[in-house]
Chain length 149, copies 3
Amino acid sequence: MALIEDRIRELGWSLGEPPDQRGKLAPAVRTGNLVYTSGNTCRLTGKVGGDVTAEQAYEGAREAILRCLAAVKWRIGDLDRVTRVVKLLGLVNCAAGFYNTPAVINGATDALLEIFGPERGWHARSAIGVYQLPGNAAVEIEMIVEVAD
Amino acid sequence: MALIEDRIRELGWSLGEPPDQRGKLAPAVRTGNLVYTSGNTCRLTGKVGGDVTAEQAYEGAREAILRCLAAVKWRIGDLDRVTRVVKLLGLVNCAAGFYNTPAVINGATDALLEIFGPERGWHARSAIGVYQLPGNAAVEIEMIVEVAD
Amino acid sequence: MALIEDRIRELGWSLGEPPDQRGKLAPAVRTGNLVYTSGNTCRLTGKVGGDVTAEQAYEGAREAILRCLAAVKWRIGDLDRVTRVVKLLGLVNCAAGFYNTPAVINGATDALLEIFGPERGWHARSAIGVYQLPGNAAVEIEMIVEVAD
């Protein structure tokens, strides 16, 4: 049925390319009913609050979470099997003096609530300002979801 | 019975206000026998090792962990159902040159050992120095606990 | 049999000293089939990309992950019972302008793939650049592994 993927398309978004399955990192690992993704960055680079605005980084957070979902799909085959988004760790590449990290990671949270609805999409989260991210990415996010047996 | 809440009162502490249940973030999410809290900050703001001392931030870490416990209570109803504190991620908003992050997050660890005792309260932890926290908070902590069926 | 420990020796590495079991932190906590370690640092101190090179920090990441494995062994008795490395959070103490954090944490990832092989060792990971680490360590890593019943 792929209802969740239909919903993503309706919202005008895309899961993008499937993740690299041949790298030294697993895009996602399942253990029991939990799937842990690796951290996924957005293509946008630079320091939020410096060369990158919070609004641009908000879009970056959506891109990063869609990549997380692509990793989950790669692992479990069908996003309709996600029963709950459990937890996000949102990482913002901050300029000195910028600390509105929740406004940035809301780009991911809002997307998950739109995609999965409040019952399955409402998640726990931390949104922290880090000093550096891989490749100077503006945003990186890792996710834990619960999946059906 | 609420033995754990009695113990918190005996120690002279308080869970404070119940968490915001109407925000876009879940205060805590349960999956199986685990409860993941969102990151909780203290009210104290500023850079530890700069405008904030490690001693002040130690108190802030206790406040943050009590907020985590309030989130767990909101989710499971009764803190007596916590069978084990599993893991903390402690985040310290560090000034340049300050790296005694364990001394700060010990404010949370010591509180958990007092509240739950060594058998249930002894937990795994990382205590890291981050560049920015939401609202310039001095400390933020997220927690995973195991709960009874 | 201790096949995993034999493999570590074959590779010329060592689990080092058993972790401190009397501290306020648990070296590792088991819940269900998951074991969460505390964050483990390397002995090397300083900022990667500044006083410490990425190559030195790569070795530090291996040292940190071997300490994580020592913590897992302490908890479950025998590393042969690890069925899967699930997730690493790799933390790099970055100098300004250094953001090749994956190259550093690959020291841990490469070691895990060597020790456990691709089937059990292939894991999810984030590799982030933080502002400070305990004791000014160059690298800190925390790990989640899945273990047999």
